[in-house]
Symmetry: C2
Subunit: 752 residues, 2 copies
């Protein structure tokens, strides 16, 4: 094509033949354009149309020569902004082309081209700022680790050094029997190191240190989670049930052997037909006064104990929960120590144990079912801290109500609802460490003329992982708080602490499930390979949302606790009372819901922790007051309370969620205030802000519906979340390194 | 307590001692109340305080006698509404108690009691309507099945009868080698039944029926998903790559043996370093004109082919994608048939194969890595439909652009992006069938005095499962539509169909992941046991969101396609143009965003399919116009297009999501219109409404932010979603039975 007019068409010809999205339709558009340009001679038009013949495409050589011509023009004229400018330059500033500049621009639009994008496609060198983001750290990682570990640093260090030993190399056999034995051996090593009995009284060989026990559970969770659960079943559920529900005689007889793992045991509460509604269990313990014994019995197959850890292979005894029957009277659920195997692991007479078989995860734990056929145990095997049978064969208890006694017993076991969310937290940290470290190195796509870019530089990838990293930090501090509340608990605080622990169990385990799902997807096919450990982390923690209380059921409990607190304060629930409750006092009400506040979008305000706390508290109080009002209305309207609670179940979840989110936010704020190191504080403030704003963003539908925020504000928050992700991205690797997970535990090849 | 005044206190004494939530604080409240009542004598006060001594609780017998007294009063006075009314009755209408009625009510509040709840706790018989919900069916299940199966009913029936044979009993071994062989054997049976070659031309033994092929893939997915993927790798990826990219000589040589599974093969595209950005692959095929051969070579370890199905054990050949090099010139990616094993399964010289090892799921498929060390293949092994090397050793192609040729090649393989979402759909159906059937039978908790209630009667449980059931029905019809579009495609429609298939692949697979997660949690511990199959369904489909294109990347492609369409229509993007585009025309604009419409909440309007379609379309168009405007602004402001696209990635996902949701809604509407049977139509309309409204509810933040709806409307929609869940619940079991999944495939004991 020598004709300078024709040369102007080179960019268009090149683009229609090379673009992978263009179709016949665009060819027609271009053809019509050519034939409609009266300033082009018929001959020129025909020549040009011949270049657009689908049956006779230009050769690859011709296509490349067009490309070379365009590139030559661009390298001489770096400020060019559109294909029509290229056209003019290629045509040696032909006046006809110049005159038809607008026509060319319109054509570009009709073809769906964007000038800048096309020019970028030709550029030899990229100036993209997306490409330039890279990992760096503004703070000393060790200092952050110190803050995270806190007072438990020595025991955490000890546990890490143990699980980093070669004997703790992950088991890779798919043979369940092999895996279970390996986990059992690991438990023995931990017992030998006096980790299992850490929470037991010193007089029985224990460490009398429940805080360290929780830290052990959490730190072990960087390693195999079957190990954690097996450990928890033996030393937590089995041992602590003896310790919490039994008395001196039981401690003396059993605690040392439980702590040393000489006496492996089970915690047999759940039955097939009664999981969440455990109060309805049907196993019986019938007292026989002549022989001073109890007969433990499973009345029908679906009353068997199910999912019992340590049952299928190793357990020799079990704490069995059963309804105590004396004469004709049912005294409600009590706990009994029942031998199930002899020391040679032979299942005892009257006991039937079945293996639960393959599970989604935790296959290193030997879960089984247990049924009892008139199994007789001596009277002293009743765990008698809260109830007993006296010398006359009469029932005795300091707690007269069977219901209340059962929940008091459960209350002593609330520690499990702290151990599990902390284990879940550690699993989330492992997942994020693997995903973020990989995303920082894995490169895919990039600007034309530039090299491929780490996938963590992509905004959507940041959006997927970094708010979850922030949430993990937030949850860390909240779980520290729950642990502390549990340790210094008084009886009067118990209902609140039980609700808090139940709620944080749900919060943390749901969070972990969501985080590991995102980590799996964010790492693509690599995360599907078991060697990269997202598999195990995900499948092992999958049941965390179910055991120690189904999350949805727990959230209802949390909400009921909140409601009962609320009723105490606002029994009458008149409108003014509720308004005062929600806003703290009338003055704040006016200042918070006025048009200026609902629309305030300056960065200082959006980043202000007071704004966050107000917003979280407002949501907490409003959802609570609204659920309470609704319930009252339904019941006043004649609904049975059971039906009324069912109608508002969805709102109850909101009540619990809002309460937990406020707790988590508040504890993150308080934790940051105690940090002295300036750099660590600065990065944690950013992480905190990302948590706060991404939670508000998640709940924006609620805030908009309520009128607490207007659209202009929720939009500004979304933008700020994006910005915070971008700002935190360079520090993300340092932030996961601060978890200080041993390399041998992290193990995933993609993390290194 | 004989004194009638004192008797009035029985309900309070009973409650504080039996309630499991009360603490010391409530005891104090009650004590203070007693001492503050001046009408009580000091002696009476002391007597009463003695009943509240924590150190000296009432006996169980006393507690039960109190309970009996209360129950006696209640059975005689069924209309009683509060504990203070009971107090009056117990006191034989003592005047002092009557006079202090208000004080008693206030005390109840202070203690956090709700009268009705307490009364309900005593009731002997429940009238709860929650308890009474049960499964029933208003329609003939077989008729709905017929509609779902449509024209493919005969092949679906055939496949079901094959996979219900005893030989297709699920493999339970955890030994991967055993599992892989079993799956391979199953594939051979399917090949013998002429299912594998269903889509191949009849002249090579095939059925020439791509619609049936997709139905086979979907129906097989009720069975083991490793089988589906192995089947898809062999007959879909390997066979169809030969069919789509090769020519007659390849068909004649290979198709029969591929279809009969005599020649197992692989589809070797993905490399370790290039998954999503597959265009960047580094394997080379260098042409040698003297010998008329290509040399296939892996330049470095991370350029190995990875995750290749059939590679680790069974594959004998592979379609290998590699950059064609002739002389010094790189002609872009082309496809070649490369032998990798001989017929005795010995790996050939120059080929290195490693096993991908254990995976999260799909362990019946033998994925592996393949590297080539200067492997020489004859010239005729180039799949030469789109490019070839001529007799002179020169490159020839009807598509001059390397880029465009590669995407044209990929375009012919778009069928995989229809097979996978349909397989995902079947897995979701299986999960829902298991979870809903179990939830209909599983009972837990119940009203006081009533028996336990099926968990599907709980609102929150309905909320968890039923909108997902609706979404599954919606997705069913949308995937039928995509299949049909693909079957009657013309070249001009290809970009749209490719985007549609890519988008629906993401939509359906993400949906399945979410559904199976919810099914797992909704079935509690039972779903954690592998025997109940949620395990396999969940873990096998987990990688569906990654393979055949990472979902997040695909969504960006969909959005880019939408943007390029949009640009063609609204190149200039002036404000009026955009408004016209979004609203269709100015008149609708006025009527849709006026205050009446944004607040309209009557049931007729909320259930109106026109309202739904308008709302979905409005969101689709607005997100698109807004992303386009934002992109333009960023680029005009000087950002490199690559950076600009990165900044708007989050919006791009919205654009794609909104587009897909509109498609799914529209196809559900159209499908219902064609249904003749009145009862089936009626239930599907309800299911449709639940889909439509639950999607709007999910996006309520967006609608509120935009101003298209106001709070009063989104609240009404939430209420309607609850109501629809409640209404559909009785039919839920029938709705999953209509999927007609063979019992032997469903298999989960909890489903029966």
């Amino acid at each position: 094509m020598e004709n300078s007019t024709l040369k102007a068409f080179i960019p268009l010809f090149y683009l229609v033949w090379s673009d992978d999205l263009l179709t016949e339709k665009e060819f027609s558009t271009l053809k019509n354009f050519i034939t409609s340009q009266s300033w082009l001679s018929k001959k020129d038009q025909e020549l040009m149309l011949s270049k657009l013949d689908a049956k006779n495409p230009p050769s690859r050589v011709v296509l490349n020569s067009w490309k070379a011509e365009i590139e030559a023009v661009l390298s001489l004229n770096p400020t060019v902004k559109s294909t029509s400018e290229i056209a003019i330059l290629l045509s040696d500033n032909n006046q006809a082309i110049k005159n038809n500049h607008i026509e060319f621009l319109k054509l570009e639009n009709d073809l769906g081209f964007s000038g800048d994008e096309i020019i970028a496609d030709f550029s030899k060198e990229s100036n993209s700022f997306t490409s330039n983001q890279a990992a760096s750290s503004s703070f000393e990682i060790e200092k952050l680790t110190e803050i995270l570990d806190g007072e438990q640093a020595p025991i955490i260090k000890k546990v890490k050094s143990i699980i980093s030993q070669p004997v703790f190399a992950y088991e890779t056999s798919t043979d369940t029997a092999v895996y279970r034995e390996k986990v059992f051996e690991w438990c023995k090593i931990l017992a030998k190191e006096n980790l299992g009995n850490m929470a037991y009284p010193t007089e029985y060989g224990g460490g009398d240190n429940i805080a360290d026990y929780f830290a052990i559970m959490e730190t072990l969770s960087y390693h195999d989670l079957s190990l954690v659960i097996k450990f928890g079943v033996q030393f937590g559920l089995w041992g602590m049930s003896v310790h919490s529900l039994g008395t001196e005689k039981h401690y003396a007889k059993y605690l040392r052997d439980i702590g040393s793992l000489k006496l492996p045991g089970c915690f047999a509460m759940t039955e097939t037909n009664h999981g969440s509604n455990v109060k309805g269990m049907e196993t019986t313990a019938t007292y026989n006064h002549e022989t001073k014994t109890f007969t433990i019995h499973t009345p029908h197959p679906k009353a068997q104990k199910e999912y019992i850890g340590n049952a299928a292979v190793h357990g020799q005894m079990a704490t069995v929960f059963a309804k105590l029957i004396i004469g004709e009277t049912d005294y409600g659920v009590n706990a009994f120590i029942v031998p199930i195997r002899d020391s040679n692991s032979i299942v005892l007479k009257g006991v039937t144990i079945n293996d639960c078989g393959l599970k989604m995860g935790l296959n290193g734990v030997d879960n089984g079912t247990i049924s009892f056929n008139q199994v007789v145990i001596p009277k002293e095997n009743m765990l008698d801290r809260f109830a007993s049978v006296n010398e006359n064969g009469e029932f005795e208890s300091p707690i007269p109500s069977d219901n209340r006694r059962f929940f008091t017993m459960l209350g002593t076991l609330v520690g499990g609802r702290i151990g599990i969310p902390r284990s879940a937290l550690a699993a989330a940290k492992s997942g994020l460490a693997i995903a973020i470290r990989y995303s920082d190195k894995r490169r895919q796509f990039g600007p034309e003329g530039g090299s491929e870019v780490p996938i963590l530089n992509y905004r959507i990838h940041q959006r997927r992982l970094l708010p979850l990293l922030a949430k993990t930090y937030a949850t860390h501090f909240a779980l520290k708080y729950v642990t502390k509340r549990f340790m210094v608990r008084t009886e009067i605080e118990m209902p609140e602490i039980e609700a808090l622990a139940a709620g944080m169990k749900a919060y943390s385990t749901w969070s972990t499930t969501a985080i590991l799902q995102e980590c799996r997807e964010a790492c693509g096919g690599k995360a599907y390979l078991s060697e990269n450990r997202i598999d195990a982390l995900k499948n092992d923690t999958e049941v965390y949302t179910t055991f120690e209380g189904d999350n949805t059921v727990l959230m209802q409990l949390v909400a009921k606790n909140r409601l009962s607190e609320f009723r105490k304060s606002f029994g009458k629930m008149d409108t003014m009372g509720i308004i005062q409750y929600v806003y703290g006092n009338a003055k704040t009400a006016i200042s918070e819901k006025n048009p200026i506040a609902t629309r305030k979008t300056d960065a200082e305000h959006l980043m202000d922790e007071k704004f966050h706390l107000s917003a979280f508290q407002y949501r907490e109080k409003t959802t609570l007051a609204s659920a309470a009002k609704r319930l009252k209305k339904l019941i006043d309207g004649g609904l049975e309370p059971y039906d009324a609670f069912n109608v508002v179940q969805h709102q109850m979840i909101d009540v619990a969620q809002a309460y937990l989110e406020r707790i988590v936010l508040e504890q993150f704020q308080l934790a940051i205030k105690t940090i002295a190191d300036k750099e660590v504080k600065a990065i944690l403030v950013k992480v905190y802000q990302l948590y706060a704003l991404s939670q508000i963003e998640k709940n924006k539908g609620w805030y908009l519906e309520d009128g607490y925020m207007e659209a202009v504000k929720t939009k500004a928050i979304r933008k700020m979340v994006n910005q915070l992700c971008w700002d935190i991205r360079p520090e993300a690797v340092a932030l996961v390194k601060a978890f200080d997970i041993p390399d041998s535990c992290l193990a995933a090849p993609i993390a290194f």
